[in-house]
Each structure stands twice: as structure tokens, then as C-alpha cells.
């Protein structure tokens, strides 16, 4: 049977067919759907971990215990998991283990564009790269066999187009490989320096055997056409290059890319007069080709950043793209992502942005959009969990000046569990006085509504222990804690003012569900009246002052001819933020 699957669906299927019994991940675009798909197979125990390091460590334990196992994460997640990753290469595996890195050339949903192929090289972990969904399935299955055969964890590098692009796949059935027995072996599993030095030497031997595999495996192959123009490519870049060069070039398609097949590269290059290396981001393949003594065209011709799509290749090669319609597009207005109508972050950021002499330390989530107009309520964003710790460092420096600057640090519930909790420890321990805000919208929203340790459910939607954020921060030693309704503008403003005046660290928890969340029974009990009654604007009472418009809600539309504002009832969920801004009381509940 043929199906049309994303790379993420195919990877999950590959893991299922390979007999995986345990998987762990933290959500992150574009990798999120891998674990969501794994969770649909009853044979695989699938879990959301609070962060990528925890996910990988759980996977390492599962491998040592003898099960086939997989961790999946976005590219920056590998930074979080890098500590265990490097030493996992030394220990090797018991049950086969695969780590998925979903990179983001083009930065569709990420704070940077790092090329994680460099991790494979640096961590000395063998790597595979698929070019379409069928290869995802086939390679993942092979990766588990290789992991066990060569006693190594395997690194599987994907990119956004591969993760979210669909192509034709023929699935097959699961191979039950069972769970191997765990045999105590400190020399292999306890990485004290004495043991690690031995494993370090052993790793070189394992890699040297894998280099031989790389030379002769089905994933690295030359395709000769009647041409002396040679293209070397891995991942989706292979298909992009084929689209442009067609059969006017020969190809060296590389799928097993650490260790690279030097002899195969030499053989291919020696037959070609002109060599192009087509790869996204860093000159990973190009540097190896150069090191082997062949002149090639790579990053001197093709861009170092963004996706290597056919039009990018065409432009770099020929200076032109396909013929296009020439038209006036100067009037097309950008459509940046925005906080949704009814988003619980709106009221909070509307008020926070008005506070003077405050630096706002931000984090990664939907709420990062608080940086934009009309809120202008975020001054920094670097990585997951950084808001509390960066805010702390900033406050420690402001304290040494006479600026009187105060810091408000903001992150979401899932980000708090991810790494924010560690950052709050430094705030308390080092006697900071930052105001730390946890925007608890009862779900991991930006990646598409994944459960987390605070939501009361697991990845399958089954009941799970629910962490109590207020109790946690109190236990860490925060004395000033208050849980507020972010849609209540007066409460938001007053609480901020009160806590900004403190000499001690404080935590504000805003608690209201994401407007897109499918509310649970518990949510309905706790948030009575949430998203029940929409609002409307009484036209005769509206004076067209546009004060409501300034809260940046996409449901509010100002009509220039009438000089009145109206509410798009398809979008409105009745959060009442705009109602509180209206000076004439023109905003009413529908039907009233």
C-alpha cells in the first residue's frame, strides 16, 4: 500500500517497524510530530520529557536496559542535549538508539540556523541524512541495525522540508526484536576517566569500521549520466539539484554522512571536470572534498544561509530564475504571526509594555510575539529558559548603576519546566529582586498544543500527575507569589507595580487557557465562562477613538469610512480585554 507521508510520519513508522519500544522527546518545530506519531503505536512507550537533555538521557537509559529507543528534537534542542550526546558516543549502546536532529535552514520557526551535521563530527557519532519520506523510513530501520552492529548511537539529521514535506511511502510490518538483557558492565557504562579513556580508543575503532561501511553502503551512491559535471549533495538538496541539473549532471548522493566515504568521493571527483557541492548551510561536504584535494564550487557560488531550493540554485548558477510575471507587488502588506483573538498573553503584555524604566527579559514561545507592536513588551530573547537567568544577570548589573532599571522576566509554563526552573534557582540563591512571570496557558501552545508536566495529561491524553507551579516556586524559596487572571488589566498592572517595588525576588503566575485549547473538564470547572460569550460593539455608542484597537486583537477592525470599530464574531472569544479599554462602554456581550 502506498501512502503520502511527511518525513516525520515516515520516521515514526520506521522506528515502529524497527521494533522500538521506548521514545522520548520535547516538542519543537519541525520535530514535534515525530513523537506524536510514535505515540499512536501501542507497542512504543512514548513520552514527553521536560527538555531535550532529559529526553536523551532517558533514551540512553532505555538503550542500556536493552530496548530499541529513539529521541527526537529540533536543532537547538541538540544544544540542550549535547552533554549526554558526546559521552553516549563513548559508551555505545545495548538496545539500538537513534537521535533525530530536525534542523531549520531558512529559520521558519527558530532563533538560529545552526547546521547540526557539525555535531555528528564533533561528537563522533555516525550520521545519516534522508532526502525524502521513503528514505526516512528505510534509513531509520537501517540506523537501528547499525547502532547495534557497531555499538554506536546513530544521529539522524532532518530539515524542515523533509520533516513537513510529504512524499510517497510504502510501509511494511514491524519486526519484533525483543529486549536484550542488561549485563552489568562498568567498563562500558560508567564513564569515569579510566574507563572513558578505554572507550575513547574503542570509539576510534568503531568509527574506522563505520568508514568502511560508508564506502560500500546503499545510502552513498554515484549516478553517472553522460556528463563531466558532477553534483555532490545530501538530504533534500539532492532533489533540488536534480530539479535544476536534470540529466545534464552526474550525482554523488550521500545519505551516510559521518564518517564520509573518502574513496567514493575521490572516485567520483576524479571522473568529473566540474564539481558542484550543493548543501544547505555550512560547507560540511565541501570541506571534505577540498581536503581530499579536489577543486569544487560550493559556498563561493551558493548561499551559506537559507534553503537551497531550485530557484536559489538556478540563480546562483545562471544568474536568473524561471520567467516570472512582472507585476506591482509594492502594496502587499506583511502578514506577521500575531497573538490570536482571546490569547491570554494579550492583556498581560498590553500592561507590561507600559511600565517605564523596565527591561523585559523574554523567552521562546507564542509569547515572544509580545516584542512586536503594539505591545513593545520584550527586550531580549535568546533561548529556552533563558529569561529568568538573563534577567537575573541584567538586574545584577543594573544594581551597580544608578539607572534604577528593574527587570521583569517572562516565560511560559512549558518553558518553565524545560529549563526555566533552574534559572529561578539562581534568582533565589543569589538574592535577585527580579519579577519573574510564568504565563501559564495550560498547554505547550506554539508547537501545536502538546501536553506538559503542568497540564495533567501525557502524550496520549491519559491522566498524568499535574505539577503545581505555585507550590514549586514557593518550595524554591520565593516568598512573593501571586496567581492572577491575565485578562484583568487592573489586576495585571497593580500586581506588576507592587512586585516591582520589592527588594526580594517575586513570581507572578498568569493562569488562563490558550484560546485555541480544547478545554478539558477540569479547565471548564476552573475557568468558568471562558470562551463562552462573544463580544460585539454597539455602533451608536462607539466614538471611533481606536483605544480598543491598541490592544492588537485581530478580531477588532476599524472602518475608516464609518469611523467605527467592529468585532469579527468568527474570531472573537469574548476575553473582554478590549471591553476594559473602551471609554464609552460600547463593547457588549453578544445578545445583550
Amino acid at each position: 500500500m502506498k501512502v503520502l507521508w511527511t518525513g516525520n510520519e515516515a520516521v515514526a513508522r520506521g522506528a515502529y517497524e524497527a521494533g522500538v519500544v521506548y521514545a522520548s522527546a520535547y516538542p519543537g518545530t519541525p520535530s514535534t510530530e515525530i513523537l506524536e506519531n510514535l505515540a499512536t503505536y501501542p507497542e512504543i512507550l512514548s513520552e514527553w520529557a521536560p527538555n531535550e537533555k532529559v529526553a536523551l538521557e532517558a533514551v540512553i537509559g532505555a538503550s542500556f536496559a536493552g530496548g530499541r529507543t529513539m529521541a527526537s528534537m529540533k536543532h537547538v534542542g541538540v544544544n540542550v542535549a549535547a552533554d549526554p550526546l558526546f559521552t553516549f558516543a563513548y559508551t555505545g549502546v545495548n538496545g539500538g538508539a537513534v537521535i533525530i536532529s530536525a534542523d531549520e535552514p531558512g529559520q521558519h520557526s527558530a532563533q538560529n540556523e545552526q547546521d547540526n551535521r557539525n555535531y555528528a563530527k564533533a561528537a563522533k557519532i555516525p550520521m545519516m541524512e534522508a532526502s525524502d519520506s521513503q528514505e526516512c523510513l528505510d534509513m531509520i530501520k537501517a540506523a537501528f541495525d547499525l547502532s547495534e552492529e557497531y555499538d554506536v548511537p546513530m544521529f539522524f539529521r532532518m530539515t524542515t522540508r523533509l520533516c513537513h514535506g510529504k512524499s510517497v511511502v510504502t510501509p511494511s510490518s514491524r519486526k519484533e526484536v525483543g529486549i536484550k538483557s542488561f549485563v552489568k558492565n562498568p567498563g562500558k557504562y560508567v564513564m569515569v576517566p579510566g574507563n572513558a579513556k578505554v572507550r575513547r580508543m574503542d570509539l576510534e575503532q568503531r568509527l574506522s569500521r563505520l568508514k568502511e561501511y560508508s564506502e560500500n553502503c546503499p545510502w552513498n551512491r554515484a549516478e553517472y549520466h553522460n556528463s563531466s559535471v558532477g553534483v555532490i549533495a545530501s538530504g533534500p538538496s539532492y532533489h533540488y539539484a536534480k530539479e535544476v541539473f536534470g540529466e545534464t549532471a552526474s550525482y554523488l548522493k550521500l545519505g551516510f554522512t559521518n564518517p564520509l566515504p573518502d574513496h567514493l568521493i575521490q572516485e567520483f571527483c576524479s571522473k568529473m571536470e566540474t564539481i558542484y557541492v550543493v548543501e544547505e548551510n555550512d560547507p560540511y561536504l565541501e570541506e571534505r572534498v577540498g581536503m581530499l584535494g579536489f577543486a569544487c564550487q560550493g559556498k563561493d557560488l551558493f548561499p551559506k544561509m537559507g534553503e537551497m531550493t531550485p530557484d536559489v540554485i538556478r540563480k546562483a548558477l545562471y544568474g536568473t530564475m524561471l520567467p516570472q510575471i512582472e507585476y506591482d507587488n509594492t502594496t502587499v502588506v506583511p502578514r506577521p504571526p500575531t497573538l490570536c483573538a482571546g490569547c491570554p498573553h494579550r492583556g498581560f503584555f498590553y500592561q507590561l509594555g507600559k511600565k517605564k524604566n523596565v527591561m523585559i527579559s523574554g523567552d521562546i514561545g507564542c509569547y515572544t510575539l509580545g516584542f512586536a507592536k503594539p505591545y513593545n513588551a520584550m527586550d531580549s530573547t535568546v533561548c529556552m529558559g533563558a529569561s529568568f537567568s538573563m534577567g537575573h544577570g541584567a538586574q545584577q548589573v543594573f544594581r551597580q548603576t544608578d539607572s534604577g532599571m528593574r527587570v521583569v522576566s517572562v516565560l511560559g509554563d512549558s518553558t518553565f519546566f524545560h529549563t526555566g526552573i533552574n534559572s529561578l534557582i539562581t534568582v533565589v540563591y543569589n538574592k535577585s529582586n527580579t519579577v519573574n512571570v510564568i504565563l501559564d496557558n495550560r498547554i505547550t501552545a506554539m508547537t501545536g498544543h502538546q501536553e506538559n508536566p503542568g497540564s495533567g495529561k501525557n502524550v496520549k491524553g491519559d491522566p498524568a500527575p499535574m505539577m503545581d507551579i505555585e507550590a514549586i516556586v514557593k518550595a524554591l524559596g520565593i516568598q512573593y507569589v501571586r496567581t492572577i487572571d491575565p485578562n484583568n488589566l487592573e489586576q495585571v498592572s497593580q500586581t506588576l507595580d507592587e512586585f516591582l517595588a520589592l527588594e526580594e525576588p517575586s513570581v507572578i503566575i498568569t493562569r488562563w487557557p490558550c484560546a485555541l485549547k480544547k478545554l478539558s473538564r477540569e479547565d471548564r470547572e476552573e475557568f468558568q465562562g471562558a470562551f463562552v460569550e462573544k463580544n460585539r460593539i454597539e455602533e451608536e455608542t462607539c466614538i471611533g477613538c481606536k483605544k480598543c484597537i491598541r490592544c492588537g486583537c485581530p478580531a477588532l477592525v476599524f472602518n475608516k469610512e464609518k469611523r467605527k470599530t467592529s468585532i469579527d464574531s468568527l474570531q472573537c472569544v469574548g476575553c473582554d480585554v478590549c471591553t476594559q479599554l473602551c471609554p464609552t462602554g460600547a463593547i457588549k456581550k453578544e445578545g445583550k
Partner: protein, 191 residues
């Protein structure tokens, strides 16, 4: 010969489901199919495109600028934004619906009211009130399926068993309205 269809809209408008049904039909008709879309942050009210390519053998999963045989725009300004993807001589279907983006709502820019006129100057363009048609069918949300109907007719894909594709992919209660929506879309661009 590979055919390319670009679906352009705003996050939340249902481009993804329309693309899914389309590609499912193409797969069952025996084509090689690739589809590309970007998920994540852009879903939050940002502009989104789904790219569908089909033929005997498809390499790239993305459509080049100047490469689309057909653009189906779920919103008027998005049609104008996407026009650079159209192959000269290609077809455009636009939903007669406008959704101002946040910079327009904030009063920093004007909505490009001449979008349709500009597109018509350069391409064979059909403007379809798909949102209104969907409302009349009883559910505004099937706007995306009305637009799927326009693709089926424009690209000559009537031979595919869409009834079965819809049955396999939507809840039983919604099969009838989806089939009506496909027919309405086909009729709207027919003749």
C-alpha cells in the same frame, strides 16, 4: 510533465486540509506526488502556502517562482503576494474575501483594494465568493473545499473518485456538505 499547484492563504483558513485531500486523490490516481508546507509559528495568523507537485516522477518538493500552473488563493492579498510563483500563462483562482493583517489593523498600512485588478492584468483569473458559497451550503468552514473544487475542475482532475477520498478523510456527518462544496467549486469555474 510535472504539474504545480500553489495554495496560498492565512494560518487557520484550512489550506492544509484542502491540500491533503488533493494529494490523496492524486496519489490514488497513480501519480508521484510531493507536497510541502511550513508549520509552526506562521500558523498564528501569518501567511501560509501549501505546495503540491505531481507527475510521473517528482524531484523537488517545492515550487519555484514562475513555476506554478495554478495558484489558488484563499484571501485576496495573499493572491497578490503569491503571484510571483505563477508560470506565465497559468491560472489563478481567488476567494473573494479579505482579511487585513495586523499592520493594516493597526492603521500603519492600507489593504491593497486593487489586488484583483492587478492580478487580472497579468493572468487568467477567476474570482469566486467561496466563503459566501460555503456559508450558503451551511458551514463557512468548507470554504477550503469549495476551493478544492475549483482546483479539480481547472486542473482536469474530475476523473478521480473524490467521493471516496472525502469519505476516507472527513467525519461521516461532514461527507455530504464536503461533496456539495466540491461540486459548487467545480461549477463556479466550469464552462
Amino acid at each position: 510533465m510535472t504539474k504545480n499547484i500553489l495554495l496560498a492563504g492565512v494560518g487557520g483558513q484550512g489550506t492544509i486540509l484542502a491540500g491533503k485531500l488533493l494529494t490523496q486523490g492524486l496519489l490514488e490516481a497513480g501519480y508521484d506526488v510531493k507536497m510541502s508546507e511550513i508549520l509552526g509559528m506562521s500558523q498564528r495568523g501569518g501567511d501560509v502556502v501549501s505546495q503540491v507537485r505531481f507527475g510521473e516522477r517528482v524531484d523537488s518538493p517545492v515550487i519555484e517562482k514562475g513555476g506554478a500552473d495554478m495558484i489558488v488563493a484563499f484571501e485576496k492579498m495573499e493572491a497578490l503576494r503569491a503571484l510571483s510563483f505563477l508560470k506565465p500563462g497559468g491560472q489563478v483562482v481567488v476567494n473573494d474575501y479579505q482579511m487585513p493583517s495586523m499592520p493594516i489593523l493597526m492603521g500603519d498600512f492600507d489593504y491593497p483594494h486593487h489586488a484583483i485588478e492587478e492580478i487580472k492584468k497579468h493572468a487568467d483569473t477567476k474570482v469566486i465568493p467561496a466563503s459566501d458559497m460555503a456559508e450558503k451550503l451551511g458551514n463557512g468552514k468548507v470554504m477550503n473545499i469549495v476551493l478544492l473544487g475549483t482546483i479539480i475542475k481547472t486542473m482536469g482532475l474530475e476523473g478521480i473518485d473524490w467521493n471516496r477520498i472525502v469519505k476516507e478523510n472527513v467525519k461521516p456527518d461532514f461527507v455530504e456538505i464536503n461533496m456539495k462544496a466540491i461540486k459548487a467549486g467545480m461549477d463556479a469555474v466550469g464552462g
